[in-house]
């Protein structure tokens, strides 16, 4: 039983998972409603609410950028942690390889989101 004497690094991922979960609970449903129902169907919100110029302006403002970054990155860390542990429950052991794969995807998406947001300029 070596594992009982080794400090776990889980708090890092658990923290990101928790933060992403909180954000998902607060913003997830309303985001699905806005982007998936309200805007495409033109109910409540005008159909051009998410037009290119508007969204570009949103993503170029520092606050919009920050919000987009948090929503994309933290949702991703939350999701990959969940997937890792759900696969573990289904018999795919959450060993080092699986941790690299799952958290690696989250890290990759975080980097891509940073790059895309920066590329859009201010």
């Amino acid at each position: 039983m070596k594992s009982i004497t080794r400090r776990s690094n889980a708090p890092v991922f658990w923290g990101l998972f928790g933060a992403g979960g909180m954000l998902a609970a607060l913003f997830g449903p309303v985001l699905v409603f806005i982007t998936g129902i309200a805007v495409p169907l033109g109910i409540i919100l005008p159909a051009d609410a998410m037009s290119w110029p508007r969204m570009q302006a949103f993503a170029q403002h520092w606050a919009g950028k920050g919000l987009l970054f948090l929503v994309v990155a933290l949702f991703m860390w939350h999701a990959m942690h969940r997937i890792l542990h759900s696969l573990h429950d289904l018999g795919v052991r959450a060993g080092t390889a699986m941790q690299f794969a799952c958290y690696g995807v989250a890290l990759l998406v975080t980097i891509l989101a940073t790059w895309a947001l920066m590329a859009l300029g201010f």
Partner: protein, 254 residues
């Protein structure tokens, strides 16, 4: 108890048998047991041993949900045999098996070496914060200080929560719900001073982060200990320790 036919009711008890010296693998054996409404599953097993088949092995002692010896899977659920009644199986059959997730020693008796080894590691006793001489008198505690840990001190080491925990089933290195409840019981005691040492175990790779918040452990606990709550409180604390060690001089585990 004499061989009575009670009020004429009979229940079929299917028992998972395994005698390592003669059985290749565990198998179910059925017994028809006459019972009365006040009989527990444990009494049913005792009837079998006394009157039908003396070779059956199972653990028990107090027959009143205090000693924690009689934990077993009853119709697939981890329960105390002395706290489960035969009258509650109206279909007329009940399946009794050794506690899940543990190696079987013989019939319904499991090996609890793993649990005992872990129990020893958390130092399940008060390690006084400050030494007091006899002349200084006892270590006093307010009712509010008692409230913080009292619930967690009701654990009877019955292991039902381990049989309920899917994560312990998948990774037996996980210290598990019962041990975490006991760890918390001592850490939360105002007289104790060894929390930092015990937190090394809570925050280890075998510790609290193996839990995925299933919560079944607390549902099956016969003493309402709520081990899931102990695990969750210590997730927050272990995470705090993890990050705080970077800003406080003396760190915990390596």
């Amino acid at each position: 108890m004499a061989e009575t036919t009670g009020n004429g009711k009979v229940v079929r008890i299917e028992v998972l048998r395994y005698r390592p010296e003669q059985d290749e693998e565990p198998f179910l054996q059925g017994y028809d047991v006459p019972f009365t409404d006040d009989m527990s599953v444990l009494q049913g097993l005792q009837y079998i041993k006394d009157w039908l088949d003396g070779t059956l092995s199972f653990r028990w002692s107090c027959r009143m949900a205090i000693c924690g010896s009689c934990g077993m899977m009853i119709d697939g659920e981890p329960r105390l045999a002395c706290k489960t009644f035969l009258r509650d199986f109206p279909a007329g059959t009940v399946r009794v098996e050794a506690l899940a997730h543990f190696p079987i020693e013989r019939d319904l008796v499991i090996r609890m070496d793993d649990f005992l080894a872990k129990l020893e590691r958390i130092k399940p006793y008060i390690i006084p914060k400050e030494a007091r001489t006899l002349a200084q008198g006892e270590y006093l505690q307010t009712p509010a200080e008692l409230d913080v840990y009292e619930q967690f001190s009701s654990c009877i080491n019955c292991l039902l929560c381990y049989a309920a925990c899917p994560q312990y089933g998948l990774n037996p290195e996980f210290v598990g719900p019962g041990i975490m409840a006991l760890l918390h019981r001592y850490n939360a005691d105002s007289r104790d001073g060894a929390a930092a040492e015990r937190m090394e175990i809570a925050g280890s790779e075998a510790g609290v982060f193996n839990c995925t918040a299933v919560g079944y452990c607390s549902e099956v606990c016969p003493k309402h200990v709520d081990p899931a709550n102990a695990v969750n409180q210590n997730k927050t604390r272990a995470a705090g320790d993890y990050f705080l060690r970077f800003i406080t001089p003396k760190g915990g585990a390596r």
